[in-house]
């Protein structure tokens, strides 16, 4: 079939295909041939859209990061202007993300990729720096805000790698405790 698509649609298709491979088989199966096959393109077709593998990986990172940040912004608006709103939204977005096992394993694969792909790592480092700035300026005591961000990150980390993650009740307790501590720091 030679039905044409828009380039943007094809890229979306490629992102979906790549993500599926990362979830089902992991980073080491993310070869150009595999991605091409999974997205129904030829290798040449794939390389038309991304000049090389690094560019593809970078784009995948940007793609998933954008999804996370959009959700973050939305949750932040839901929280309104109260002190700590940003931190609460960050906690909710993080928990939401890892609650789906597929997404969790996708992120585990992405993490592995960072070791090899310096530019992807740089992107993520930069993101965390900006999130940390948000955390420090969200209306709470900066030390406490960072403390709670680290707790959320630890939760995320343990779920992502399945490192002794909490069961559902424990997770709920932790999350509600984070929220409670945000409130406490907010009124102080």
């Amino acid at each position: 079939m030679n039905q044409k698509r828009k380039a943007a649609d094809t890229r979306e298709l490629i992102f979906q295909a790549a993500s599926k491979i990362l979830i089902d088989e992991g980073l080491s199966s993310l070869t150009l041939d595999q991605v091409a096959k999974e997205s129904g393109l030829s290798k040449g077709g794939l390389l038309y859209h991304f000049p090389n593998k690094v560019a593809l990986i970078d784009a995948i990172f940007e793609y998933h990061n954008a999804i996370f940040e959009e959700r973050l912004v939305q949750l932040c608006e839901d929280e309104g202007d109260a002190p700590g709103a940003w931190l609460k939204a960050y906690a909710r977005a993080s928990v939401e993300q890892i609650s789906d096992p597929g997404t969790a394993s996708l992120y585990a694969s992405l993490f592995a990729a960072e070791e090899k792909y310096a530019s992807a790592h740089a992107l993520m480092r930069q993101k965390y720096v900006s999130w940390q700035q948000q955390v420090e300026n969200c209306g709470l005591d900066p030390n406490w805000a960072m403390f709670l961000r680290l707790t959320v990150d630890g939760l995320w980390f343990s779920e992502m790698h399945q490192y002794g993650p909490p069961n559902e009740k424990q997770r709920e307790w932790v999350v509600s405790q984070v929220m409670a501590l945000v409130e406490m720091q907010a009124v102080k």
Copy 2:
């Protein structure tokens, strides 16, 4: 010279060489040839001690994990029998570990390896499960104990990947806050 070594000494040599490669160049440079070269052996000699790469990687994980756990046990003894002693020791051991940039980058590489090497990942998952059991039984409210473990893990995670890590003052604040909360839960 054909002075023979004991196998255990050679293995130690190999662990040192492999760790150096992981620190300086990362997982993707950890090829059998590189490890052989760095440890002054031939590839065949290396493969005499480890039948294949998976076995080598597994052994590296066990090696570094043993170092961590030894330190953990020692710090635990220093804390005595007080409630929360184990959690405090865990916090101290974790912070100690990541304070050295070399060690931090070593662990970042090891983490990347887990994605590809399932048995290494299984080992780490198992370790975290047993640590979580210790956390839950260390004399604190189990929910709070887990909460604080996650905070420590989040700190460790952010230092390891350099994801918006705290500066020295912030880190000290976080650690002392963890310790203070252990005390609070202990007396309750």
